[in-house]
């Protein structure tokens, strides 16, 4: 039986305003206007019937398809007995994994090195895990006391995060700046447009009096970044979020998505405010963060929903993931093949690849590799920086 947890003394206005604040915390644009509409709407329905109230509030507050999906959980979390805390909608019966993902989220680096706890997410079938969590698994170069060579999972201070962001900014620039191969007439161009000059010189008896110029117009590359924030990637999450933010802030057309069991578009959140603050909000937005991964399914969603508008032949799709997929790995290959049909380039940055003795045996990863334009390691800032010339060539 679900019981309301409100004291009798709080008025309905208070509760409704509280609910809007709750939605705001979870990334909905809900404000005074919505509260007012909701209160008016309550006169048109049977407010004591939770289902009816849910339907009504959902049509007022959940103003796009993504919010619609999340609304029911948020509604239940606030109005029914679950309380006003962030609602963790993990499936039941995965207690072991749950506990582990909680641990990994605030894990410290030496714990991983010692292999004591927080084993990065279970591999597909538990057998072909290439991750040795002992000393072997450490990045070889990480021993050197150099920030740029430190494995990204050790990056925790704000300065490190800022460095990751700066690096991403440069990379995004390297990818983005593209010139067309063709030349177009331009008022201020690098080259002279000889054909046109010759043509116009006829009028002056062959003297090239009027000069025309040409240039190669900009053909900026559009980026879409998909960041895996599942349990196994949690240790890299902060650095990678900063990295994604750097990419997003380099160009107005870059789109960012988070992926765990669902795919969420986070471009707008990434653009606002400070990194750490937005990281905090992101973790609220995607309540499944640190849980399992469904890469294939989510890439498919990406293809069918977002790629249609944001990916074309001048796009580069960057996937940051370790390739551990709790869903069907065959889907990863299918989805990538479909994505490639749009003519884009796909890069996969896998933090595990920089580890000594890494083999892409995770089935999701293995299925993906034939479709990738670039498969690179991404576990040190130096590794990321080294990508720059490669990306410039893509």
């Amino acid at each position: 039986m679900l019981v309301s947890r409100f004291t009798e003394r709080s008025t309905i206005e208070d509760r409704m305003a509280g609910f809007m604040a709750h939605l705001r915390l979870n990334g909905f644009p809900a404000g005074l206007g919505e509260t007012e509409t909701a209160l008016r709407a309550m006169q048109a329905i049977e407010p004591l019937n939770p289902d009816e109230l849910r339907l009504a509030l959902s049509s007022i507050c959940a103003t796009n398809a993504d919010r619609k999906q999340r609304f029911n959980d948020l509604f239940r979390a606030y109005w029914l007995s679950d309380g006003r805390i962030r609602h963790e909608n993990r499936p039941k019966g995965h207690d072991r994994q749950d506990r582990r993902s909680v641990q990994t989220s605030n894990i410290r680096a030496h714990e991983i090195a010692a292999g004591s706890s927080g084993t990065p997410d279970a591999p597909d079938d538990g057998q072909d895990g290439e991750v040795e969590t002992g000393g072997e698994g450490q990045l070889v170069a990480a021993r050197i006391e150099n920030l740029r060579k430190t494995d990204l999972r050790h990056l925790v201070t704000p300065e490190d995060i800022a460095e990751a962001e700066r690096m991403a900014f440069q990379l995004a620039r390297a990818i983005r700046d593209r010139r067309s191969r063709r030349r177009k007439a331009a008022r201020r161009g690098a080259q002279l447009d000889l054909r046109r000059i010759a043509r116009h010189s006829v009028a002056h008896g062959g003297d090239p009096i009027e000069l025309f110029q040409r240039k190669r117009p900009d053909r900026p590359v559009r980026l879409s970044v998909i960041l895996d924030v599942s349990g196994s990637m949690m240790i890299y999450a902060r650095a990678f979020l900063a990295f994604v933010r750097g990419l997003v802030s380099a160009d107005l057309h870059t789109e960012a998505y988070l992926l765990h069991t669902r795919l969420i578009r986070v471009t707008d959140t990434m653009r606002e405010g400070e990194t750490l603050k937005s990281v905090g909000r992101l973790s609220l937005m995607s309540s499944g963060i640190g849980g399992g991964t469904k890469i294939g399914e989510n890439l498919k969603t990406f293809c069918s929903q977002y790629a249609r508008h944001s990916v074309n032949s001048r796009s580069v799709v960057i996937i940051l993931s370790d390739g551990y997929d709790t869903g069907d790995p065959a889907l990863v290959g299918e989805a990538l093949a479909r994505l490639k049909k749009r003519g884009c380039r796909v890069l996969w940055l896998n933090p595990l690849k920089g580890w000594a003795g890494y083999e892409p045996v995770a089935r999701g990863m293995a299925a993906a590799i034939p479709h990738l334009d670039l498969f690179a390691s991404a576990n040190t800032l130096e590794g990321l920086a080294a990508l720059e010339p490669e990306l410039a060539r893509l």
Partner: protein
């Protein structure tokens, strides 16, 4: 007809007019009507977003005014335009008959104003249903203008002054998601996402629209279409396509999908609208789908 008292009544009333609405949609509609707010509908193509506006206008027995948005839609084709030819004629006639004075006043009057959908909608005596179809196709500038009208329900014409609404229209906006709408517009509206109907609902829709269809064939049709939606297709068939297909099949005199696979395969043109989709469903796959649905 009177406004239904609550959302279940509304749902039943829509049902009576052969529109099977989900709970979500009926509630959103009900609130949109009682609160006088615009309703934004999103969803894949062919799930009945436009149809709901038509049904609503039927329910209220009022006019349906439709504004189809497209890229480059501007104020003169959405709101109002002066009838320049008539104005010129009037000026000419006035100068020939030697009538001086208030020509200017005359030619900028109601008589010379051509109301386009938005202006027309706010001039009606009884509140009409205003359908702004595929609002995502219009430019962002137009969206901003639309916001103003949706908020105030008045239109200012520099030569005439401000025209405010005689009655507030029931506004329904639809979007297919070709571009993301601004949050400002979304917040002004109530929102409902129209999904593909489930098997039961779709069957109900088919029976409403094609009452003559044999129950067995109807079930097969719905089964196949539902299965097709799970296939990897570029354009997923919507409800409208399903109805077309049903009409085509009954036109071909097919009573059972398993009888004549070739004819059924040929009739799939109603559902599969691209070459690669056609190629993705060869006759073997179609027979398997039919077999499963039967």
């Amino acid at each position: 007809m009177e406004t239904p008292a609550n959302w279940t009544d509304l749902k039943a009333a829509l049902d009576g007019l052969d529109y099977v609405a989900s709970d979500d949609l009926s509630m959103a509609l009900h609130l949109a009507i009682t609160l006088g707010k615009p309703l934004l509908l999103e969803g894949a193509a062919g799930v009945g977003k436009t149809q709901i506006a038509k049904t609503l206008s039927e329910l209220f027995a009022t006019k349906l005014i439709r504004l189809q948005c497209y890229e480059g839609l501007d104020a003169s084709s959405a709101i109002y335009e002066w009838n320049y030819q008539r104005q010129l004629l009037a000026i000419r006639a006035a100068s020939e008959s030697g009538e001086a004075g208030n020509v200017e006043e005359r030619i900028f009057s109601d008589k010379y104003l051509m109301a386009r959908p938005l202006l027309e909608a706010i001039q009606q005596e009884t509140p009409p249903v205003l359908l702004i179809d595929e609002v995502d196709r219009a430019d962002e500038e137009f969206e901003a203008y639309l916001l103003e009208i949706l908020a105030e329900f008045q239109i200012s014409i520099p030569e005439l002054g401000t025209i405010s609404a005689r009655s507030k229209p029931h506004v329904i906006l639809t979007s297919n998601g070709t571009r993301d709408l601004s949050d400002a517009l979304r917040r002004r509206c109530l929102y409902a996402y129209v999904e593909y109907p489930d098997r039961k609902t779709e069957l109900a829709i088919l029976q409403k629209r094609q009452p003559g269809l044999a129950a067995r064939l109807a079930e097969q049709i719905v089964g196949v279409v539902q299965a097709l939606r799970k296939e990897e297709l570029e354009k997923t068939p919507g409800v409208a396509e399903m109805l077309d297909w049903a009409a085509a099949l009954s036109g071909l005199g097919i009573n059972d999908l398993t009888d004549d696979p070739e004819a059924v395969q040929a009739s799939l043109v109603c559902l599969l609208k691209t070459q690669s989709d056609r190629a993705a469903i060869p006759i073997e796959v179609q027979e398997r789908l039919v077999g499963k649905a039967a």
